[in-house]
Amino acid sequence: MKGLAAPLRHARFVVTENPVTGFALALFILFIVAAVFGPSLAPHDPLASNTAQALQPPSGQYWFGTDQLGRDIFSRALVAARLDIGIAAASVALVFAMGGFAGLASGFFGGWTDALVGRLSDTIMAFPLFVLAMAIVAALGNTVPNIVLATAIINFPLYVRVARAETTTRRDAGFVDAARVAGHRDMGVLLGQVMPNIMPLMVVQMSLTMGYAILNAAGLSFIGLGVRPPTPEWGIMVAEGASFIVSGEWWVALFPGATLMVAVFCFNLLGDGLRDIVDPRRRT
């Protein structure tokens, strides 16, 4: 427990010194609760249409108002948290595994492994990233797993870079030599010795890219790729509300959009806070 005391003290210092991080943490817990319990917390059925109540402005009964089919926007935005955060979390986990391992191997072995991973990253970076994501989803088919995959692929170079840089600085470290002398094979050293050491920075990287992953998935849904109506999803809900902005029914697009924005903001702040804890040198 002694080893944990100092980082914990530092974490408490960061959270209390910068109230924004504490605020982001509270928001994060709120979003996680919405993602886990959303469907049972929703005051109305998110899919039930009720044309008699169409396009009602926000009120005591409908906190965020109702959409063109009379569905409760608050319930829909709440239920959508699971899908949006789920897509982002799945894609970040996927790229953490793929990019993290590719970067580790690339930095550890060098040579052709490094060249191969490097070319793969360069190829991805040759595209404007959102356009590449569009192309991948359009080619593979309009499904949620494909959005997850596309979002993971466009983040791949970033993860490779972090993992590779951190691995290269540790490749010749004493503890690596010691592990080798003790008879560990390459893979054993890589996964048993090097990986645990680069883990904290990779976790920071995950939290920093969560926000971008949510934005990316919502953007794809906004242009009609990925999740389809009537599924509640923040990007689609904004797209559906877009046509009502010019006639003054602002709440249809505003509330889902604002929820999306706050979620992304929360993840970005949290990522910055986590980076301050793990890697204080990079504070700006």
């Binding site: 040759a126 359009a138 926000g211 877009a242």
Partner: protein
């Protein structure tokens, strides 16, 4: 000169990669173009017929060769929705996208660079906090949502700006085409009424894109200015009695701009992607909304042409950024 040629050759792998990936995405993966073309009621025979017609029954290397040949002839296929060759459609719509993206970039640079400088010079003061908030908010804003908010405020509430429906209002006719940029063409033709209409339509989408691209530029300007301002030559310049403005603009900024220009590569990656979303929000007749319409209609060739165009544009933009960097920084010329 040799360095320049070397750099030109250096962007060839990226171009090759782009061409290969576009081919793989559209021909090799399960999504089947022939089934799209044939429609939902087609029999297996008619699908096979269409496959043969499109050359999709050939072995992959041969298909790839045909694809490259067609590409070099400027043949990107036909759009089912418009009935035009994709290349014609893209060429007609590209100026609209380019005008919007460049205006967005200018808005972003115009705000972000001075803001970044001010934040670095007055570190820890009010302007620095404003900069930090804008930078954090800027990367969190969904660009399609900011666009809609601006439309609501400036069109619906205040009626200061026209409805988000394309490049000109319904009563104006486009200026005679010279560059395809309405602002430039209208100015050349002296049609100031058209110019005003085009500018009014452009303000909101350009501001939306600008707000989005502002964050990375402001952050890097601030960081880079801070690094330069701490350097010894700045201390020397100050000690020599040069005025604050001379030190900041002539000495610090010129050196601090290099990382900013390098970051523009990343900014363009964001801008070209965000462009698609902004074009959809503002019914902007550019290549992004063309691709979105084609996506909805399951029309493969335009999407493919769009992805290829965007990727080639991006490679060229990166090349340009590199050239500018070389022109500004003697070290980059000698280094490689």
């Amino acid at each position: 000169m040799a360095g320049l040629l070397l750099r030109l050759a250096g962007s060839l792998p990226a171009l090759a990669a782009v061409i290969v990936v576009t081919f793989v995405l559209t021909r090799v993966l399960p999504g089947d173009a022939a089934t799209y073309f044939a429609g939902p009621t087609a029999s297996a025979e008619s699908i096979a017929q269409i496959k043969a017609m499109l050359g999709l029954d050939r072995p992959l290397p041969e298909q790839f060769w045909n694809y490259i040949v067609a590409l070099f002839h400027g043949n990107l296929g036909m759009s089912l929705t418009t009935g035009q060759p994709v290349l014609t459609d893209l060429a007609a719509r590209l100026p609209a996208s380019a005008e919007l993206t460049l205006c967005g970039l200018f808005v972003a640079i115009g705000i972000a660079v001075p803001l970044g400088i001010a934040a670095a010079v007055r570190q820890g003061k009010m302007v620095d906090h404003v900069c930090r908030v804008l930078v954090t908010a800027g990367v969190s804003l969904p660009v399609f949502f900011t666009g809609l908010l601006l439309v609501y405020v400036f069109y619906f509430r205040l009626s200061w700006l026209p409805a988000p429906l394309g490049r000109l209002d319904a009563f104006a006719s486009p200026p005679p085409t010279v560059t395809g940029f309405f602002l430039i063409d209208a100015a050349i033709a002296g049609e100031w009424e058209t110019w005003r209409s085009a500018a009014a339509q452009l303000i909101l989408p350009a501001a939306t894109l600008g707000l989005f691209a502002l964050a990375p530029i402001a952050r890097i300007t601030r960081a880079s200015m801070l690094a330069v301002l701490g350097a010894e030559f700045i201390r020397t310049a100050r000690a020599s009695g040069l005025s604050g403005v001379t030190v900041i603009i002539t000495y610090a900024l010129r050196n601090a701009l290099l990382p900013v220009i390098t970051t523009l590569g990343m900014v363009f990656s964001f801008l070209l992607g965000a462009n698609v979303l902004v074009e959809k929000v503002f019914a902007w007749p550019g290549i992004g909304s063309y691709a979105v319409e084609a996506l909805i209609a399951s029309d493969g060739a335009p999407v493919q042409g769009f992805v290829l165009t965007m990727a080639i544009l991006y490679v060229l933009l990166n090349l340009t950024i590199d050239m500018v960097n070389r022109a500004l920084d003697p070290r980059a010329r000698r280094g490689s």
